[in-house]
């Protein structure tokens, strides 16, 4: 009964989303005040229905209802309770439901905080969000119903994909999706402003906080995914330029550009049409990512089972939403004029370069991701585009970006007088060169040409970001949360640049075969193999190999990498063992049984790799701090005041 209730709730949610879209867009357009007022109730109803549907599906998982096809495919009675709940987003149908839930929650958050906005504008924002909800609900109901029944019911389920049975992956999709979906809010604000035909600085200030929150979640989600790929898949490395990873990275790059361009629009009233375009693009990239992952046009290691009919549906939806928004843009953006100018060397010009470089980076990632598709379509044969393409092209736009940041952070708005901060720039650069050379040649004693350059730029960013806040602090000035958040996020980037440079240059990776009692020497560490022991878990069994690790005779750790054999899907997963030692990240993955007690084992020593994820976390924290600045909360009233002044002038 409950699954049918959930299905019915989804249908009601679809109808309510249609009403929400209609009232929100038509109400202000035809000046029907009653329609405009009906948006919020429609949204509330939609959200309640979506939550009901999610609760029904979670209940089916928790109560092991294998008469529901999705539950039978993705759960098992031996699966621990925690994973039975997170199995909700273990495959396509449930992930979509999660996406819809998060979109509903974001919409509710916008509605709750829209009291200060002009009513027509708020209605339009919620109307556009309703249109997005409608599209995804229709997609779910038409092609991917999570409540489909299985008759006769399966005696037991096929179990959750074993590689997803991991705490890291259990929390990764909700956080990542929160970021993805969050860009829908910026998209809705952009569309509402274009429908309104007016875009003032209040708009940018309003959009800023939502965008920054979404960006922070996306940053965190990507880092979690990368961390999971590192320790669960045991492939070595933390980024593979896989289509699914790229799908999450492109919106991040465009979103980062958007965060910066919004700052210019907010502070100086410039880049208006460009900011609008980025707001459309950021969410378009999120939806494009969904399309690439779900339609099966690209083959990825961790894509869900895909279906071309679903692909066609999403594509039509993409054409309507993105095509519609871009057409609106072509029509309305020419009306926007920026009043002020700025000089080369002013902060605006640095942010312009930042935007251009980030968009170029996103475009190169997109091109690389789609290249196999294009070459296939043109019958040029199958190509595979991997790190040899992505690493250098990405570096080509990112290194200048990082260097520009270290200089541009000193620049003031409007006037290009960098001479004032010449000393700060030169001294920070000098200090960075010394520290970087110390790091590269002192500690690691080797390196690639790019290693000292990368390390210098990373350290330079760290120092430069601190100059202004320290100066303010010395002069007894207070630091707003926006500035504090920005400083922290920029330092996170600095840490990321340093970490990526050192990891790429100084990684040691080896496969060794060991018999019990044998010792392997890898990168200054000694590994003594003690043999394997059987292990047993709730829904798997397997073996764990014990390794005693020492460095120059001093004990480091006892590491037990495992191989797990899951009973239902007969899939073997490798559970790596990771330990931190002397700034290095030591990873052991158990390979194959070579007979007579001998096992192969993969050893990876990656210096400072933990800093990559830490850096992302720092950036995300910076984003959260900046987004919670009080200025954004008091903004709506100011926007209304400006809006009414503008009206008074027109009159």
């Amino acid at each position: 009964m409950l699954p049918e209730l959930g299905h019915f709730a989804l249908i009601l949610a679809l109808l309510l989303a249609a009403l929400q879209a209609f009232f929100g867009i038509a109400g202000p357009a035809f000046a029907r005040e009653r329609w405009t007022h009906a948006v919020t109730p429609a949204l509330a109803g939609q959200a309640v229905m979506v939550v009901t549907a999610v609760v029904c599906l979670v209940n089916a998982f928790v109560s092991n209802d294998f008469s529901v096809l999705y539950v039978a495919d993705n759960s098992n009675s031996a699966l621990p309770l925690f994973y039975r709940v997170t199995a909700l987003w273990g495959a396509h149908e449930g992930s979509l439901l999660l996406w819809i839930l998060l979109l509903a929650l974001w919409s509710v958050a916008v509605a709750l905080r829209s009291s200060g906005l002009p009513p027509n504008f708020a209605a339009r924002v919620l109307g556009v969000l309703g249109l997005v909800s409608f599209g995804f609900l229709l997609f779910t109901l038409a092609t991917s119903n999570p409540f489909a029944r299985l008759d006769p019911p399966a005696p037991d389920g096929r179990d959750l994909n074993p590689i997803l049975q991991d705490p890291g992956l259990a929390v990764h999709p909700p956080i990542l999706y929160t970021g993805y979906v969050g860009f829908a809010v910026a998209f809705a604000f952009a569309c509402a402003a274009m429908l309104e035909g007016r875009l003032d600085q209040g708009w940018a200030r309003w959009t800023r906080q939502w965008t920054t929150w979404a960006w922070a979640f996306l940053t965190c989600g990507i880092a979690l995914g990368s961390f999971w790929a590192y320790y669960e898949l045991g492939w070595g490395g933390f980024w593979f330029w896989d289509p699914v990873e790229n799908a999450s990275f492109m919106p991040w790059l465009v979103g980062t550009a958007l965060v910066h361009s919004l700052a210019v629009t907010d502070k100086r009233g410039l880049f208006k049409s460009w900011t609008l375009l980025l707001a459309i693009l950021a969410f378009s990239m999120s939806m494009l990512g969904t399309f690439l992952v779900r339609s099966g046009v690209l083959v990825s290691v961790h894509s869900f089972a895909a279906d071309p009919s679903r692909g066609m549906f999403i594509l039509v939806f993409l054409v309507i939403m993105i095509g519609g928004a871009l057409a609106l843009y072509a029509w309305r953006a020419p009306l926007l004029k920026s009043q002020a100018g700025f000089e080369l060397g002013a902060r605006e010009s640095f942010l312009l370069f930042n935007n251009v470089l980030l968009v170029i980076a996103a475009a190169t990632v997109l091109a690389g991701t789609l290249a196999p598709l294009i070459s296939d379509a043109l019958k040029l044969g199958t190509v595979s585009v991997g790190p040899p393409y992505f690493n250098p092209t990405f570096l080509l736009s990112m290194l200048p970006l990082a260097a520009l940041l270290a200089v541009g952070i000193h620049a003031g708005w409007k006037r290009g007088r960098l001479e004032d901060s010449q000393r700060a720039i030169l001294f920070s650069l000098l200090a960075a060169v010394v520290l970087a050379c110390g790091l590269v040649f002192g500690i690691y004693r080797q390196g690639h040409v790019l290693t000292p350059i990368g390390a210098t730029i990373g350290i330079w960013i760290l120092i430069s970001s601190l100059v202004d806040p320290l100066d303010r602090w010395r002069r007894g000035l207070s630091l707003s949360r926006a500035v504090l958040g920005m400083t922290i996020a920029h330092m996170g980037l600095g840490v990321a640049v340093i970490a990526l440079t050192t990891v790429e240059s100084f990684t040691v990776e080896r496969d060794v075969a060991l018999s019990p009692g044998q010792v392997a020497q890898v990168g200054g560490y000694e590994l003594r193999f003690e043999g394997v022991k059987p292990i047993e878990g709730p829904n798997f069994d397997g073996v764990g190999g014990t390794f005693v690790v020492t460095h120059g005779g001093a004990p480091v750790a006892v590491m037990v990498p495992q191989k797990r054999q899951f009973w239902v899907q007969h899939q073997v997963t490798s559970e790596t063992a990771i330990t931190l030692s002397r700034g290095n990240n030591l990873l052991l993955a158990l390979g194959d049984n070579l007979g007579a007690g001998r096992w192969s084992v993969r050893v990876q020593i990656r210096p400072l790799v933990s800093l990559v994820w830490l850096a992302a976390l720092i950036m995300a924290i910076g984003g959260c701090i900046a987004a919670s600045d009080r200025r954004y909360r008091s903004a709506p009233a100011a926007a209304v005041a400006r809006g009414s002044r503008a009206l008074a002038r027109e009159a």
């Binding site: 399966a154 005696p155 096929r158 049409s273 375009l277 459309i280 693009l281 378009s284 399309f291 339609s295 099966g296 046009v297 690209l298 083959v299 089972a305 895909a306 279906d307 071309p308 692909g311 066609m312 594509l315 993409l318 054409v319 993105i322 095509g323 871009l326 057409a327 843009y329 072509a330 953006a333 020419p334 789609l370 598709l373 294009i374 296939d376 379509a377 899907q569 007969h570 899939q571 073997v572």
Partner: protein, 176 residues
């Protein structure tokens, strides 16, 4: 020319690429096996029905065959069984079974009870051969050409549509 139309133009171009991508994707199958277009993994395993003999990839060379991975523990394999019997009745291409991680007695009883669609059945008790074939879950079916090349892979129960649209044309027309 309005420069604000440029994004729309670029997007239209992208849509064309994606439409072409979708048009091509059904041929790729749901889960593309890295084995496609490569030689089938070599194996030599005990035979389920004639324990004294071995089933080996070397013997199978020179003819088309369907390599079907199954087990008595697998619910969908039972659902697939009728289709396999039809394939046998069609007499176009022999079925070679891989009895994956199974109990021999149960597997023999299953074939006795439901009918045996296979020309021969290899026993893979350790699951080692299935790993070589990159099997993700039973049932899975591979089509191997006379040259010993894997030309098609189907994941899940074999159905009428896959048989008539994907497998038959390849065997009869040499479509690869």
């Amino acid at each position: 020319m309005n420069r604000f139309l440029v994004p729309l133009g670029v997007f239209a171009l992208l849509v064309v690429v994606l439409v072409i991508g979708i048009r091509h994707s059904p041929d790729k199958g749901i889960i593309v096996s890295p084995l496609l277009g490569k030689p089938a993994p070599a194996f030599s395993l005990p035979s389920l029905l004639e324990p004294a003999h071995a089933v080996s990839s070397a013997e199978l060379k020179g003819h088309w065959y369907l390599f079907n991975v199954w087990g008595t523990w697998c619910g969908e394999c039972r659902a697939e069984h009728d289709m396999l019997l039809k394939v046998k009745a069609a007499g176009v291409v022999p079925l070679i079974g891989l009895d994956w991680k199974d109990d021999d007695a149960q597997a023999q009883a299953w074939l006795g009870q439901l009918g045996n669609p296979y020309q021969s059945v290899a026993v893979d008790r350790s699951g080692r051969a299935a790993i070589d074939w990159g099997v993700y879950g039973a049932p899975e079916t591979f089509l191997v050409s006379p040259a010993g090349i894997v030309v098609y892979k189907h994941v899940g129960a074999l159905d009428e549509a896959t048989w008539t649209r994907e497998i038959l044309p390849r065997v009869q027309g040499g479509k690869i």
